[in-house]
């Protein structure tokens, strides 16, 4: 473990914040860190940039992380896990706080000169972050408070998936399992990549807390899996 200082906190409403660190990590989009708040626990979080995470308060530790102040010290292990693989013509699909690793991916793909389309859905406008950061994007909210009314699935169904070289997905478990079905029907499982989330202890492939149904470990064999590995 090493320590970093909090350089900047960007808040989006009460429950979501981007925490920027004093140092950049040598990292790739899709990788995660184990972030310790010393008064609370250590939690796995995807990087939303090489020097930051975007966290939503869902429990005690994530609440404390949303409320950190500039200058605070946090503990870091990582970055861990396998990243997304690059492509020249990409579709990014994100639901809710699943957008966090996708901003990092988007910026990195655009940096390579790739063309990237984004489908991003959330419950309502208050839960949307980064919607001003994407050029070619479809936004959906369940209550219609921003973009079209509907879910990510509705947005995906209207899209011609054959056009893309790679499809990247991150979001709630229910959304991802529904997309696996959609991708299977449209024969695009092989070019899809999903970012999975599980409760983790070690983050480095030994404890076995994050094993999924196929016997692979989210922390060390993932967190990015091909759709064909999950279906």
């Amino acid at each position: 473990m090493f320590t970093v200082r909090v350089k900047e906190v960007i808040r989006y409403g009460r429950n979501i914040a981007t925490v920027k660190f004093s140092s950049r990590f040598r990292s790739y989009p899709g990788q995660f860190i184990m972030l310790s708040h010393f008064e609370h626990e250590e939690v796995p979080l995807s990087l939303s940039s090489p020097d930051g995470v975007t966290v939503k308060a869902v429990g005690e530790t994530t609440r404390a992380l949303v409320n950190v102040r500039e200058g605070d010290i946090l503990g870091v292990r990582g970055p861990f896990g396998n990243p997304f693989s690059p492509s020249k013509n990409a579709l990014i699909i994100a639901g809710g706080i699943g957008i966090a690793p996708m901003l990092f991916l988007y910026n990195s793909l655009r940096g390579f000169g790739a063309s990237v389309r984004v489908i991003y859905g959330a419950k309502s406008k208050d839960e949307m972050v980064f919607h001003d950061r994407f050029e070619n994007a479809v936004f959906l909210t369940e209550d219609g408070s921003y973009g079209a009314q509907g879910t990510v699935i509705d947005g995906v169904k209207r899209e011609n998936l054959d056009r893309y070289e790679k499809i990247y997905v991150c979001g709630p478990e229910g959304m991802m399992s529904e997309l696996l079905e959609v991708f299977e029907r449209k024969s695009v499982l092989e070019k899809s990549e999903f970012s999975l989330e599980r409760y983790m202890r070690c983050g480095i492939g030994v404890c076995g807390s994050c094993v999924i149904d196929n016997g692979l470990r989210v922390c060390a064999d993932g967190p990015i899996f091909k759709g064909s590995e999950l279906f």
Partner: protein, 298 residues
């Protein structure tokens, strides 16, 4: 499959001497199934009668020569865990690791896992209260635990013991006197790490158990000493990472070895070590079973 790798430990036939150590990827049938395709046998995560939540994160950290963990025997409890293990496909033998604080509880635990090929008694976890090492540092209690557990099951019973005792051979002897079919040496060593910037211990439990390459020389010495005094099989454990480590442990007297922290490097490690051991036996013309304890000749 190479015949030269086969070993037989207390009646359990293994296609190679590489076992999965307890506490590593052993909480779910799915991961056990995947690893058991190439392992000689697998040992589950330790289970007790009641569910245990374990310690808060950080519970596992890596340092430059291995890992330090204080997971705290997190487990869903015997009933739920035996349900989970129903999904085990038995590509290789299944050994269920048990923890408890009294001989009677250990005996009771075996009845939940009639389908197991053997049991490993956790007498050595250094970071749980009233179980593990608390039981395993008292020779009289160790003997009694093994004796009572052996009466409750006809499956082989192994005692996993700790180096953090006055004399590990004394504990090994006690297990043998109680009727153990083998001993597993060693569990993790007590240790801790302090973050020098935050100025506090990193693990939520303050201290934990050290495993990985850093403890290998300690483990080899324990196996060596136990081999000199015991007549039951010894299973070596502690920092096994390469095929050379496997050979070293076997020369010291281990009939089989357990791998844990090395899974950090690859979940295909059983396959790669197995292939390397095949190459080794081809080169030397030996069967692995025949080199056990060979370094002791003087």
């Amino acid at each position: 499959m190479s015949e030269a790798l086969r070993v037989r430990v207390a009646g359990i036939e293994m296609r190679n001497p590489l076992m999965l150590a307890s506490g590593i990827m052993g909480s779910f049938s799915s991961s056990l199934n995947r690893l058991s395709e190439h392992a000689g046998a697998v040992v589950t995560k330790s289970v007790g009668l009641a569910p245990v939540e374990g310690y808060r994160n950080p519970a596992v950290i890596n340092y430059s020569h291995g890992l330090i963990n204080a997971v705290g025997l997190a487990s869903p409890g015997a009933e739920a865990f035996s349900e989970e293990l129903r999904g085990y496909a038995f590509y290789s033998p299944l050994i269920v690791s048990l923890f408890a604080s009294t001989p009677e509880e250990f005996a009771d635990l075996t009845t939940h896992f009639e389908f197991a090929d053997g049991f490993e008694l956790n007498l050595s976890c250094p970071h749980a209260k009233n179980v593990g090492l608390s039981v395993g540092s008292d020779p009289e209690l160790v003997k009694e635990v093994v004796r009572v557990t052996k009466r409750a099951t006809d499956k082989p019973v192994f005692a996993k013991i700790s180096p953090n005792v006055r004399d590990i051979v004394e504990i090994g002897k006690a297990a043998e006197d109680g009727g153990a079919d083998g001993v597993v040496a060693i569990n993790t060593l007590k240790g801790m790490k302090i973050d020098i910037f935050a100025k506090r211990p990193i693990l939520s439990n303050i201290s934990g158990g050290v495993s990985g390459e850093g403890i290998k020389p300690v483990a080899v010495k324990c196996v060596w000493d136990l081999y000199e005094e015991l007549s039951i099989p010894i299973i070596g454990s502690g920092g096994v990472t390469s095929w050379k480590d496997v050979i070293e442990f076997m020369l010291a007297g281990a009939m089989a070895v357990q791998l844990g922290s090395a899974l950090f490097y690859s979940n295909r490690i059983f396959y790669s070590l197995k292939e390397s051991l095949i190459a080794y036996t081809r080169m030397t013309g030996e069967r692995l079973e025949d080199i056990v304890g060979m370094a002791h000749r003087t």
